[in-house]
């Protein structure tokens, strides 16, 4: 089984090819260029490097959200275009789950967090049990204070990762009442390798969608819809 994986959900752009529990290639860039300019040239680069015939892949995995709305759509549209052209299924992988998978089989709880603006983070709480990723708290957008309360209540050591850590590090240091640590540089951001590895598992479980069906999971409505709902609620 050969899977092409894409992640452009956050600041990082990452492309990988995973085949039968082996990572054939991965290209990850954490730089200011837009994903629209980097993602496809990165895929082209690794495809040349490993002499990849795109027709031989079984599915295209994509970090399906949450994340930057525009970033998600660049990844999704790329995956959808590839899926349409190659007639291959897509495997949408929840972004926060894939981040947690970076820290396979670690002890304690894993808490990925991505900056979601408006003083919130996209986050979830996970642990590994019997070598399986177990969701303690599903991915969602919540205030950092609320997340900290939830983690303190769990009473277990926490490993934090994701681009939200940089933004909220001070707040975590001040308010965490359980032991915690921050994942190091090679593990603390989105990696298409992790998306691909998790996707292999999903593929075996039959969790694929058609390229036409797929759309990102934003976890939030647009600002215009939110404000409209607030106005409607205000009238009542």
């Amino acid at each position: 089984m050969k899977i092409l994986a894409l992640d452009s959900s956050g600041l990082v752009a990452s492309v990988a090819v995973v085949e039968d529990d082996q990572l054939l290639a991965e290209y990850t860039v954490n730089y200011k260029k837009t994903h629209s300019q980097t993602l496809l040239p990165m895929l082209d680069e690794i495809a040349k490097m490993i002499e990849l015939d795109l027709e031989t892949i079984d599915a295209i995995a994509v970090a399906a959200g949450p994340g930057s709305f525009t970033g998600l759509r660049i990844g999704s549209a790329t995956a959808k275009g590839l899926g349409l052209a190659l007639k291959k299924p897509l495997i949408p992988v929840p972004t926060v789950d894939a981040l947690a998978y970076n820290l396979y089989d670690s002890t304690g709880v894993i808490c990925p967090m991505m900056d979601a603006r408006r003083k919130q983070v996209y986050t979830g709480i996970y642990r590994f049990a019997d070598h399986e990723l177990v969701t303690v708290s599903r991915q969602k957008a919540i205030a950092v204070e609320e997340l900290i309360r939830e983690l303190n209540a769990l009473g277990e050591a926490v490993i934090f990762l994701g681009d939200g850590v940089t933004v909220y590090q001070e707040m975590l240091k001040e308010n965490m009442q359980v032991p915690y640590s921050f994942a190091p540089a090679h593990l603390n951001k989105q990696r298409a390798g992790a998306v691909g590895a998790l996707a292999e598992k999903y593929y075996r479980e039959g969790k694929t969608v058609t390229a036409a069906e797929h759309q990102p999971e934003y976890l939030r409505v647009s600002q215009a819809e939110r404000e409209r709902a607030e106005r409607e609620a205000g009238k009542k």
Partner: protein, 340 residues
């Protein structure tokens, strides 16, 4: 289809229509699929960029597949993929650009980024096989008002542009003010048919540059007129306001376009863009051109609105010139006409 035929798949997602088309040899439209989002945005009185982008990603594959099916071609038959990469809403453009890049990359097809306005101009080639540059072209839509000389395919000399609102934008704003709602263009066109275009005289902007446009003045004059009527307790006749406003805009557009054609010795004048489907503009331009012995060209309404067929036509001429874009093609929301 002969072996020499050039088939281009084109994608357009710069605003609120998700569209795909297959075009043969730059002039024959094999399919033209448009998924419009107008109903969604009506709730908000205008296009909401984030909602538009979300709808594009939801529909894009379906629209592309339909375009291929209706044209009865497969991706293997294609020679190139063309896509609008600007100007437009950046989030919306990015969906089409990423999709087009992925398809052309996977099928090893040349990628051609197309200027949206160049597409609108090219819409005129679809139904007029005899039309070839050079000609004068007036481009009027919700986002653009340009008066250009089309010197060659993809080559423009910009004579004038709007200093403030685009013509279509003025239609939208006035339609909102008189309670017609969104989208304003077709609604004003319709209601104007029942009104007297000479009921109210709205002022025309006087600009230093003879080919530039300004529509914020006439828009303000309409708003002031409505306010004055309300304050004095006078009854407001929407049809008369709409017709008079439309006349003011149309007169300006026709006057400048025809003057430009005459002064530049152009015997052909074309209109393009969403506002080009306005019936009063078409009629007035037709009459003025007949008077001046200028041949007048305009696309059918379906090719005036945003569509991918026009992008495929423009892409064809770029393709013939050897224009190719790389995998790093980005969306350029404020792309200037004639820029690459």
């Amino acid at each position: 289809m002969s072996a020499k035929d050039v088939l281009i798949l084109a994608i357009e997602s710069s605003c609120d229509e998700t569209a795909a088309s297959v075009v043969k040899n730059g002039r024959t439209i094999l399919s033209n699929i448009i998924s419009s989002q107008i109903a969604l945005h009506t709730l908000y009185g205008g296009v909401v960029p984030e909602i538009a982008s979300r709808k594009h990603i939801e529909k894009i594959n379906q629209v592309v597949e339909e375009a291929l099916t209706e044209a009865d071609v497969t991706l293997e038959d294609l020679d190139a993929v063309g896509v609008t990469y600007g100007p437009g809403l950046v989030g919306a453009l990015l969906v089409g650009v990423a999709e087009a890049k992925a398809i052309s990359y996977a099928k090893k097809l040349p990628l051609i980024g197309v200027h949206h306005i160049e597409g609108h101009v090219s819409a005129n080639y679809i139904e007029h096989p005899d039309l070839k540059p050079p000609f004068m072209c007036l481009i009027v839509s919700g986002g653009h008002t340009h008066l250009v000389i089309v010197k060659d395919y993809g080559e423009f000399e910009i004579l004038g542009r709007t200093r403030d609102d685009a013509a279509g934008e003025a239609f939208d704003k006035v339609a909102r003010a008189i309670g017609l709602g969104y989208p304003g263009g077709p609604k004003i066109d319709k209601v104007s048919k029942e009104g007297n275009p000479n009921a109210i005289v709205f002022p025309k902007a006087k600009l230093e540059d003879p080919y530039d446009f300004s529509f914020s003045g006439v828009k303000s004059a309409v708003l002031n007129h409505i306010n004055r009527c309300k304050m004095q307790g006078e009854e407001i006749c929407e049809a008369d306001i709409a017709a008079s406003f439309q006349k003011a805009v149309v007169d300006t557009l026709v006057e400048k376009a025809v003057k430009a054609a005459k002064e530049h010795h152009m015997d052909k004048l074309a209109i393009a863009g969403g506002v080009a489907s306005n019936s009063a503009l078409r009629q007035a331009m037709k009459e003025a051109c007949e008077r001046e012995h200028i041949r007048f060209y305009y696309p059918s309404p379906i090719f005036c609105t945003d569509n991918a067929a026009m992008i495929g036509v423009a892409a064809y001429y770029e393709y013939k010139k050897g224009v190719r874009h790389g995998w790093d093609l980005n969306a350029v929301p404020n792309l200037k006409l004639g820029e690459r």
